[in-house]
């Protein structure tokens, strides 16, 4: 049960961080967009790099504090395929779980609702195929 309580607390914090970025800088906390724009934006990349630095540093420190177990290494080909699909898909579809999920649903955007239902659907089909049908 503790897992779900922490999940809920984590969710509330995700929402709070996203709202704070919007209230403060007027920008949406869409991670795929921030990461891509940090690399390509000629100007205005500074706040994106600051956010990403916090994200990477916070993830590193907190994984230690929280004692997250190391994962069993997986096939690099699977990770490369998945990474490419996530990179291509989030640029074509203008967002990921944070931009369309956390922020988009909060903004009651129809586009984001469609996006969330779509990536959850294809994600579920992918897990069904890889974990049950083909294994």
């Amino acid at each position: 049960m503790g897992t779900y309580v922490w999940a809920l607390v984590g969710g509330l914090l995700l929402g709070t961080a996203s709202c704070t970025l919007y209230f403060g800088l007027g920008r949406l906390a869409g991670i795929s967009g921030i990461a891509c724009d940090a690399l390509v934006a000629a100007e205005g990349a500074a706040w994106r790099w600051a956010f990403l630095l916090g994200l990477v540093l916070g993830g590193t420190v907190f994984a230690n504090v929280w004692g997250v177990q190391a994962m069993v290494p997986r096939s690099p080909w699977l990770l490369i395929t998945a990474g490419l699909l996530v990179g291509i898909g989030t640029v074509v579809g203008s967002g990921c779980t944070s931009g369309h999920g956390v922020c988009g649903l909060g903004r009651r955007s129809l586009r984001s609702l469609v996006a969330v239902l779509t990536f959850m659907g294809t994600g579920a089909i992918t897990v069904l195929l890889t974990q049950h049908v083909l294994s």
């Binding site: 994106r48 640029v91 074509v92 909060g106």
Partner: protein, 166 residues
């Protein structure tokens, strides 16, 4: 929604906030975002794939092998953003440290949105990583996270290049 002034090129974004206080706030938001992802279990791909495994509900008494954790995370976050974004759209509202709120210009549901989201979902289901948790795991997640993030950034850059208006 967007009114163009004589000084702003169409499609160009308003001046991005770059004051030290704005950068510090962005850094703090990233920090809290990462902490939230870690404590909620979202940096563990097994939790994501366990959620997407809806067939797992049929295995044993409910919820079976299905892992509902992500639903709690999404539920908790959207409760906050629903209130927050509603408050920020009150008349006369302005960001604390920027000229104005910047929102996506696309408002129509189109093929691009659905195709892109569908591709993203396949990658998400394959590895259990989406951009936020993958970046938060960049150092703690070992070689796996590093390989995934590298491929993801290459995919983003190539796609951005290919879709660039000519």
């Amino acid at each position: 929604m967007t009114t163009s002034t004589p000084h702003s090129k169409p499609g160009s974004e308003p001046t991005a906030p770059s004051s030290p206080i704005a950068l510090a706030l962005a850094f703090a938001c990233g920090l809290v975002f990462a902490a939230a992802l870690v404590m909620s279990g979202m940096t563990q791909p097994a939790k994501i794939m366990g959620f997407l495994d809806f067939w797992g509900m049929a295995q044993g008494a409910f919820p079976g092998r299905w892992d509902p954790t992500l639903a709690f995370v999404m539920g908790g976050s959207v409760v906050v953003t629903l209130v927050g974004f509603a408050w920020a759209s009150r008349p006369g509202a302005k960001p604390w440290l920027a000229e104005k709120f910047v929102l996506p210009t696309r408002v129509q549901v189109d093929t691009r949105l659905v195709v892109g989201s569908a591709l993203f979902g396949v990658g998400w289901g394959l590895a259990g990583y989406c951009p936020g948790p993958a970046l938060a795991s960049l150092i703690s997640g070992g070689l796996d996270a590093l390989v995934f993030v590298s491929a993801m950034l290459i995919g983003m850059l190539l796609t951005r290049l290919a879709l660039r208006p000519r």
